[in-house]
């Protein structure tokens, strides 16, 4: 895959994309609004056949950052889709219906960061014990400046 071509194509196809930056050598970060996530995921995973790696959930100043990592093994480039969710409304569409392998990690992020993945086929606890208290999320920052 030619990465310049990808950057042009994806911008044309999905004009709502907020920004595309090369964060490091061969690492691309694509910032998108959450409404566009499923469409772009479908494009990257199914059409371009990039390999799904994993999803990272992170509590940062701007909101809950959910980063979807994909790899294009033919060129060695990694494409990272970044969706920022507001702290007061942490929900986003589940990508599991498109990317079958994302079921576990979405459940893990549910456990650890308290994100709601809409239309997840099995929104059950994954890592935390059944006795773990509701509404306690280890990866949320307690001393965030509001």
């Amino acid at each position: 895959m030619n990465i310049e071509k990808f950057m042009g194509d994806v911008r044309l196809k999905y004009p709502k994309i907020l920004d595309i930056i090369e964060i490091n050598r061969k690492r691309l970060m694509v910032f998108l609004p959450r409404e566009e996530l499923l469409a772009v995921t479908d494009y990257v995973f199914r059409e371009l056949e990039c390999r799904y790696i994993i999803v990272t959930g992170m509590d940062s100043q701007e909101g809950y950052e959910i980063i979807y990592h994909y790899s294009d093994d033919s060129s060695g480039w990694m494409i990272n889709l970044n969706v920022i969710l507001p702290h007061n409304d942490p929900q986003v569409e589940s990508i599991t219906p498109v990317v079958y392998g994302a079921e576990w990690i979405e459940r893990e992020i549910m456990d650890l960061l308290g994100i709601t993945f809409l239309h997840h086929p099995k929104p059950e606890r994954f890592l935390m014990a059944e006795s773990w208290p509701e509404g306690e999320y280890p990866f949320r920052r307690k001393n965030r400046e509001e």
Partner: protein
């Protein structure tokens, strides 16, 4: 639909080395559904890393897995070094590759042994583990440890490989090569293993893409991916080697890929050692002052597949977020395609074929009375108790 029987395996079971829980839903002999539960080993390593310095994180991530204990530091080094854009010395690149490949040899031998054991073929188990032993001894000579080698650091490696060690390693490799050839021949030509493993736990290339499975699991289904070649790091683009693939997608193909990879690893190490002789000794670490704010994403090819590390730095001396993905995380869920529809007796080896690693070493810190909830022992007392027991056993043995 007929009546279903649930066969529970785990979380603690004589067959399992690590705690995990499988629920097999069976209709007669056929597995119709399977549920896998986890969390018994959760140690919160990602969170722990946030409280360590960039330097210390190496030794934390090394302890994620006891078998591929250098692959996590490898991926972490690739991630963290990409933030300031460090170029590590050439000698360190070759040493890193030597350590990475030695680990692949011992890990693949371990898997072949375990796979034999799961099939009730204990001769293979005994052989493979016997031939693995000198590799571990070699690790001890080079790094000081049979496991958890503490070789990696930001900007290079912590110990050099001198010419004496290199000579010894070449000798050991020669022996390992002969023995592995014999083992490979014995496994690949064995009609019993053909009958038992061919067509069992088949994964197609589409299954691999759906789940994001990596490493030998993917390569055995004809998916030609290997981070060492696709996004080269350390010295992998400086030596000559090839990616091993197979087309069957079954357990036999996975065994074949792993066994043949041992010889590629031996070849990589030989080439690295040859070049190491021509490089000045001692130049093994680049100076890195600090890690600026930024994001580093690194991956490395572990024996089980790609290890992925995501590190975010805010310019302080520890990461603000450290995400880790081990290869088993995307390989284990493939059981949904490999086990369902097969028989109960195939489920064990089909699951074992991805070489699952549940990131072992769970540690108990305190013991509580289950009825009253009172604290009975703390960690130090538990250690003291176990030492007392050892003393007791020693005394009894001496009496005999």
């Amino acid at each position: 639909m007929g009546k279903r029987t649930i066969v529970p395996i785990g979380p603690y079971h004589p067959l399992l080395e690590e705690p995990e829980f499988f629920k097999l839903y069976c209709d007669g002999e056929t597995v119709v559904d399977m549920v896998w539960e986890t969390g018994y080993n959760h140690r919160g390593i990602e969170k722990i890393c946030e409280s360590k310095t960039f330097e210390q994180v190496f030794y934390v991530v090394e302890r994620i897995c006891g078998i591929c204990s250098t692959s996590h530091p490898f991926a972490y080094a690739n991630a963290v070094e990409s933030i300031p854009g460090v170029e590590i010395p050439l000698r360190a690149k070759y040493i890193r590759s030597v350590i990475g490949e030695l680990e692949r040899i011992h890990s693949h031998l371990l898997w072949v042994g375990l796979a034999g054991h799961f099939l009730g073929y204990n001769t293979v188990f005994m052989w493979a583990w016997k031939y693995r032993e000198p590799v571990l001894d070699m690790f001890e000579i080079i790094t000081g440890n049979r496991n958890s080698y503490a070789m990696f650091t930001i900007g290079g490696v912590r110990r050099d490989i001198n010419s004496e060690q290199a000579d010894l390693l070449l000798k050991v490799l020669k022996d390992v090569e002969v023995k592995s050839k014999m083992l490979t021949g014995a496994v690949i030509d064995d009609p019993v293993l053909h009958a038992r493993l061919k067509g069992v736990g088949v994964l197609t290339a589409q299954d691999i893409h759906d789940f994001g499975a990596v490493g030998p699991t993917a390569r055995a289904s004809g998916v030609d991916i290997d981070v060492r070649r696709d996004d080269p790091y350390a010295a992998y683009d400086l030596v000559d080697w090839k990616v091993i693939t197979a087309s069957g997608g079954d357990v036999f193909a996975k065994a074949e890929v792993r066994l043949l990879e041992i010889f590629e690893s031996i070849s990589i190490i030989r080439q690295c050692l040859q070049i190491l002789q021509t490089l000045p000794e001692g130049d093994i670490k680049a100076k890195v002052k600090d890690i600026p704010a930024g994001i580093g994403i690194g991956h490395a090819e572990a024996p089980r597949g790609e290890v992925f590390h995501f590190v975010k730095s805010d310019g302080s001396n520890s990461p603000v977020r450290h995400k880790i993905r081990a290869p088993s995380y995307t390989c284990i869920p493939t059981f949904r395609r490999s086990c369902i529809g097969g028989t109960i007796s195939d489920a064990a080896i089909a699951t074992a074929a991805v070489d699952p690693c549940y990131c072992c070493t769970e540690r108990m810190a305190q013991a509580y009375d289950i009825n009253t909830g009172e604290k009975r022992y703390n960690a130090a007392e538990l250690i003291r108790l176990s030492q007392m027991k050892t003393e007791e056993i020693k005394k009894q043995l001496l009496k005999r």
